[in-house]
Subunit: 266 residues, 3 copies
């Protein structure tokens, strides 16, 4: 249950190691702190393996890539796999440039993340049959809908033996034997940069305390969506939404998380 | 008209490719999303040309330089010029260190931006006769007034055949045959980091939909100033101003933009 | 007196040169602007010495390291020492990985900062007798209490002839002949990323106008704590706390700073 994950995150404050993009580092760290986890950002080749050794989840996000960062992600990913902690991948902008698509696929192949979360365009670009049919990611924004990407998500999940979460007005999460939908969230959230990245980090926090990757993915997306809904009730626009969302994550009670979660198929 | 640019940005959501500094990446992305554009940040040498291929404007900002980033800016700038999309340059800190002045001048020479926006000290440092007379930029803050920099701005505009916008209490924008002034804004805005960078990004959004570089520069500065004025009406200080400004950009109607714009000479 | 430092910062707007981590750059710049200082961020090897030449304090923060940034910190530190301006070091995550501990120790040895500010785990990791007894930093969060680290802080202060400030519910600041305690702050502050880094930057602003390193350290911590207390009075959670804290720094009067400061031993 979502409430169980929330309670455990707050009780255990799991260390979530993020190698993520410059745009969202502050927001991501704040979202993890607000929900009760303990974030750390570290990307130096000389320290990522050691930091993974302290962490309970590794979150890899390719939003602002450069070659050294790709190597750090691979190295940290190997360490996480060796240690047996879950890796969550956010393939930001996959499908927009070859570097991003190639890097996301390399991380899928070499690191074997437990969970991948992206928007529809990003996930479509990772499907084995991708190419002309996949359409193209517009920078980091999706040009597709989550529901029309379910087949692609299933193909990625089967090929890489991982849970695939496609964000959208309804989030679709594809597991080995089930498809889960999360209907939380608010339309204004797409006007704030990096809330997809926040969702990925929250999935990381849930994965630290919940051995089911499918549940962790659904719970992380629900947490993000619920906090966005609460924030939108009093936000005047995307600026205040961003901050009220952090307040909401911090104040969310277990009972409220249960009452508000709109998770189907779990 | 400003309202026309605003309507087109919202209707078309142009992709604005930013190679910008670490300090403002989040704020810049959020301002572009708030106004209705679609931001992307990408700096890897391996992907900047491809990302420019998807974009409608390229914004270059030298606020936190390193050699690889300079090369990425030059490469992206060449691609933008080849493709025929406008480049907007923000020479943050030019005049403070040789690296910054040299890089700004190199980008002016090699990339040929359509628009340059800086504070008075930065623009003065770029004038052909700069040197002892230009004074010195204090870090990234100006030690001069926009009005006393009009001659320097004209010299930069003539030499590099571009529009030059000098930010200040009154913004002065120098075009080929006209000088435009924008009197929007609020004194508290200088207490928030990167609102000059936000103005540059908003100029980029306008340049994506308006072929007149002079109009795009004036409209971007007016948008930033108007949003700042609205935000200042209820802000308690620079912290809330930053967020309310994003709310204001998002909520600004075309009618309100027309009523509030204080643009002279266009 | 704290009020004197505050008045001088606002009157002189000292340039504070920060080489800091990606997570907090925006927050740090905004806190320095809010209090009245002039921040600049510059890390390129080609410009750090020149930027130090314009600055009145250098703040080094190792929160997101890479080899080039370490070299830039050393180079800037040497320039600051040569010029005679104070260096303030924030050893973020020291004790969590060898890279961080080694880098912090190298900066202590080679640069000789006037002030070091960290949490208890970080400071403990820097003590000459550190090792098994020091415990281990959990990412960037402390696993110890400030009061139980006083001996370690004294050892660091004696060895490196600097002021050592240990943040916690009560901040402990160890000088050559005195130990000062600051009892300002609010528990919600640990749920916002980088407020320790903000404290370090505010110490940097005070050190620019106050030749006593011990006073500057106490005053910077008090400023941060007071602003946090004021912000917590109306914050709904960590999101709004972060912004209200900037508002509070901006609005804090000298009289209010005197009335609220809870500094003992100075």
């Amino acid at each position: 249950m979502l409430a169980t994950d929330l309670a455990r995150i707050r009780a255990e404050a799991p260390l979530v190691h993020n190698i993520t993009n410059y745009v969202v580092m502050n927001t991501t760290a704040n979202a993890l702190l607000a929900v009760g986890a303990s974030p750390v950002m570290a990307h130096a080749l000389d320290e990522v393996e050691e930091m993974v050794g302290l962490a309970r989840t590794l979150v890899l996000n390719i939003g602002t890539l450069s070659p050294e960062w790709v190597e750090a992600m691979v190295r940290a990913g190997h360490a996480a796999r060796h240690k047996g902690i879950p890796v969550v991948l956010d393939p930001v902008g996959s499908g927009a440039t070859r570097l991003r698509t190639t890097t996301a696929l390399r991380l899928l192949e070499e690191v074997g993340p437990a969970i991948v979360r992206g928007n529809a365009s990003e996930i479509a670009s990772l499907a084995p049959a991708a190419g002309a049919a996949a359409g193209r990611t517009k920078g980091v924004d999706s040009t597709r809908d989550a529901e029309e990407t379910v087949d692609a998500a299933r193909a990625v999940a089967a090929r890489h033996r991982c849970v695939v979460a496609v964000s959208g007005p309804t989030d679709v999460i594809v597991g080995e034997d089930r498809t889960v939908r999360v209907r939380n969230g608010h339309p204004l959230m797409v006007r704030v940069t990096g809330l997809g990245c926040t969702a990925t980090a929250l999935i990381g926090a849930c994965a630290a305390v919940n051995p089911s990757a499918l549940e962790a993915a659904a719970h992380g997306l629900a947490l993000n969506g619920i906090a966005g809904e609460i924030a939108a009730e009093r936000a005047q626009g995307p600026g205040t939404l961003q901050l009220y969302l952090l307040d909401a994550l911090h104040r969310l009670t277990e009972a409220e998380s249960t009452a508000r979660a709109r998770i189907e198929g779990l």
